[in-house]
């Protein structure tokens, strides 16, 4: 049956068609829609399957892994940076293996569209010694999910699927199975202490040896089933292109559009590679160029003086692929003359900058504004975390961003290293649950003095508003009680759109800080303007205008508050774009020194 699917939908459907009935993960662009779509299909077709967001990727991985060692077919989803968090269990699970099947989906983001780092999960698979499949289109992603689950079952190994953003968020007409046949399969954990509970070194050492044997068997399988059949289609050019994932599409198009004489061999499983068999192919070629995104995962496994790639600096080292980059690699390797078929002039005059910015009406903006208004820049350090509120960068309300949860541990660190400044940490509710609780315990335990503000909009907003623990179970899991459980008071503020009130609340925290001997912790109860359930009735309907006579173009509103509808008009005065304004009215007070913002 043909269906138009986004990559992440295709993956979700592939999981269903592979009989996966246990899914656990943590949202992160570009992976987030996999679990959500799985839930959608499950509910639509009334299938019995577990699919839930975990508090973080490590937890998600461990839940799915336990399912797999009980014999179920499971899957964990995350983005490449999330895999860092889950790497701890992955390393051990890779030695131990499993009984049923488990697909670890880690989505990469070449070009850093929405990530702190580029990274290459295939290299992580190599480090962990598990096989990895690298799809280049939604159709392939669908097929590879099915292959991966079967393969995982056959080899008792975790298998990684590594789609990149341009696969996860691509849309294609896919050929998929007709029926839906997930039915809850019964797990049955069989006690086997030497396997599941092995203590180093004796048990693990044996498993380590088995892992090496398993890898050899997988290499052979990779050759016999995935690579060798394709070698018969090679035409016998002088140049061989080894490709993987999306790299393949760019090479295929450039080669056919410009009539370049080259063979293309796509490696569906870029790790582990049958080195000897592949290198034997090189004999017939003058040059072998490796096109892969993002790290030299394939290239590092091969060796030959004929090999050109990232390690030899013929292929770009960072950023997403493009056909222009393909041509430049061909030219550097001396295959073609320099060619600029895929370059064109940009518009060279200045255009309005549109850096990522919080939505109009978002309560986070008010909190950041109130922080900088109260805790003056020269005397403060603002640590923050990963989520929509990270965009407070635009308001110069953030000094550091490292990784999930680090706002709190870094606040501890700054309170020791630069004690004359007030450290103000901001973190969202989902991030706090993900990795903020442990550093808060650490801070209370060691009496680190800083201000921590938890921005609680009860959703994982940035990745598309997935549910968070307190959202589903509000009576049991409550941020306020978690804070109190750590033995410190919780200052609570229920957000209102009157900016004065938010500033007043911040001043009360400043007061508390003066006499504090431990962290001053607050939770601001907010909402996300895109969250239909919660924002309803809380987003005003005020029409705001700027009084041109009063506006002195001092930049104050744009610099410190930066709501997207604000811009200068032809007369050089501030204006509010009525199509973007959410009508929250927050900007009416405080932010303009001449009170130019008025109600219409």
């Amino acid at each position: 049956m043909k269906q138009i699917l986004m990559g992440n939908e295709a993956i979700a459907l592939g999981l269903i068609h592979s009989g996966v009935d246990m899914l656990s993960g943590y949202p992160g662009t570009p992976s987030s829609e996999i679990l959500g779509n799985f839930q959608k299909f499950r509910d639509k077709f009334k299938l019995e399957a577990y699919a839930q967001w975990a508090t973080n990727e490590k937890v998600g991985f461990e839940v799915a892994y336990a399912g797999a060692i009980s014999g179920k077919r499971t899957c964990a989803t995350m983005k490449q940076v999330g895999l860092n968090v889950a790497s701890d269990p992955l390393m051990s699970a890779s030695y131990i293996g499993l009984k049923g099947a488990m697909l670890l989906i880690s989505c990469d983001d070449p070009g850093f569209y929405s990530s702190q780092t580029e990274q290459d999960s295939r290299s992580f698979a190599k480090f962990a010694r598990i096989p990895v499949l690298d799809p280049s289109t939604p159709q392939e992603a669908y097929d590879m999910v099915k292959l991966g689950i079967e393969f995982s079952h056959q080899f008792e190994s975790i298998v990684m699927l590594r789609p990149v953003m341009r696969v996860s968020h691509a849309r294609e007409i896919c050929e998929v199975d007709d029926s839906l046949y997930v039915k809850a399969n019964q797990g049955n954990f069989e006690r086997n202490i030497p396997r599941w509970g092995a203590v180093p070194p004796a048990g693990r050492f044996r498993q380590g040896l088995e892992q090496i044997d398993r890898l050899e068997a997988i290499k052979l399988w990779n050759w016999e089933h995935l690579i060798e059949p394709k070698t018969h289609l090679l035409k016998g050019s002088r140049v061989l292109c080894l490709t993987s994932g999306t790299g393949d599409g760019y090479v295929k198009e450039a080669v056919s559009e410009l009539g370049i004489d080259a063979d293309i061999l796509k490696l569906d499983m870029p790790y582990p590679l049958p080195k000897e068999n592949l290198e034997a192919l090189f004999v017939k070629y003058d040059k072998v160029i490796v096109f892969e995104e993002s790290f030299p995962c394939i290239e590092e496994q091969l060796s030959s003086p004929k090999l050109y790639g990232k390690l030899t600096k013929h292929v770009h080292l960072i950023d997403e692929f493009s056909k222009d980059k393909v041509l430049s690699a061909f030219a550097k390797a001396g295959v073609i003359e320099p060619n600029h078929a895929y370059q064109s002039e940009k518009y060279n005059k200045e255009l309005p900058k549109r850096p990522p910015n919080m939505c109009p009406g978002c309560p986070h903006r008010d909190v950041h504004y109130a922080i900088t208004k109260t805790f003056k820049k020269k005397k403060s350090i603002y640590t923050s975390d990963i989520g929509c509120y990270t965009l407070g960068l635009n308001q110069a309300a953030i000094d550091t961003i490292l990784c999930m949860g680090a706002s709190i541990s870094m606040a501890s660190g700054f309170s020791i290293s630069d004690p004359d400044k007030t450290v103000v940490a901001t973190i969202g509710d989902s991030t706090f649950m993900h990795s903020g609780v442990a550093p808060l315990i650490n801070a209370v335990y060691q009496n680190h003095k800083f201000v921590l503000i938890i921005l609680d909009n009860s959703t994982t907003a940035m990745t598309g508003r997935q549910t968070t623990p307190e959202r589903t179970n509000p009576n049991q899991i409550d941020i306020k009680r978690i804070i109190e459980g750590c033995g410190v008071a919780c200052h609570e503020y229920v957000y209102e759109q009157d900016l004065n009130k938010t500033v007043d609340f911040m001043k009360s925290l400043q007061e508390a800080y003066k006499t504090a001997t431990a962290p001053v912790v607050a939770v601001v109860r907010e909402f996300c303007v895109l969250d239909k359930e919660n924002a309803v009735g809380r987003l005003g309907n005020v029409v705001v205008e700027v009084d041109e006579d009063k506006c002195v173009a001092c930049d104050s509103c744009i610099t410190n508050y930066k709501c997207p509808p604000m811009h200068y008009n032809d007369a050089g005065k501030m204006e509010i774009d009525p199509f973007l304004c959410a009508g929250c009215g927050s900007c009416l007070d405080v932010i303009c020194p001449t009170d130019a913002f008025v109600k219409k």
């Binding site: 043909k2 138009i4 662009t29 570009p30 569209y113 929405s114 280049s136 289109t137 953003m165 341009r166 696969v167 968020h169 691509a170 849309r171 294609e172 007409i173 999306t246 393949d248 599409g249 760019y250 295929k252 198009e253 997403e320 692929f321 493009s322 056909k323 222009d324 078929a341 895929y342 370059q343 064109s344 002039e345 940009k346 518009y347 005059k349 255009l351 309005p352 549109r354 850096p355 990522p356 910015n357 919080m358 939505c359 109009p360 978002c362 929509c388 965009l391 940035m462 598309g464 997207p564 509808p565 009525p578 199509f579 973007l580």
Partner: protein, 178 residues
């Protein structure tokens, strides 16, 4: 057939909706289609660009100098993406005021914001309105009005009638301007 479309706009204008409509239209017309969307960091008001490649393509992104059509839901976003247009085939359909900078491509522009301000159509249907303008003015556009109507209905039958009305309004306004 090979036809490549860049859709540019700002977050909240529904560029992604157009990708969906066009991929459904491709399926209805029995064409291969590969589309990608930019998700993530750009919330409301950030730059958004999407690609739709119709025909025999493998690479998800559109390269510079390759696109046949640029639909811009906001004028400046057209300029920001101008390098994607093909030098000899490229056509722009954009929502921009009359006094907008001229560029070296066949350009069709309409001041849709002005019309929305005058409540001629609801602003949240701007994307569909611009698709109507495209249907009317881009002579190489690979879909018929009927195919687009069917695609809109397949997307969401409940609001299809309203959307199709806006589509026709865009077509009519465009013809009037021309």
């Amino acid at each position: 057939m090979k036809y490549q479309i860049v859709i540019a706009g700002i977050g909240g204008q529904g560029a992604v909706f157009l990708v969906k409509v066009l991929s459904i239209a491709s399926a209805l017309a029995n064409q291969k289609c590969l589309g990608t969307e930019n998700h993530g960091m750009s919330q409301r008001g950030g730059s958004v660009s999407c690609y739709v490649k119709i025909g025999d393509f493998y690479a998800p992104a559109i390269d510079e100098g390759q696109a046949d059509l640029l639909i811009a839901l906001e004028g400046n976003e057209a300029l920001r993406n101008i390098q994607y247009l093909s030098k000899d085939r490229g056509v722009i359909v954009m929502n921009a005021p009359k006094n907008f900078p001229k560029v070296d491509f066949e350009t069709h522009s309409i001041d849709a914001f002005k019309k929305a301000k005058a409540k001629e159509f609801p602003i949240d249907a701007l994307n569909v309105y611009m698709l109507g303008v495209t249907l009317a003015l881009d002579t190489h556009f690979p879909f018929t009005c009927k195919e687009i109507e069917e695609a809109i209905t397949a997307m969401n039958a409940k609001v299809a009638e309203k959307n199709i009305a806006v589509l026709h309004q865009g077509m009519n306004d465009a013809k009037a301007v021309k």
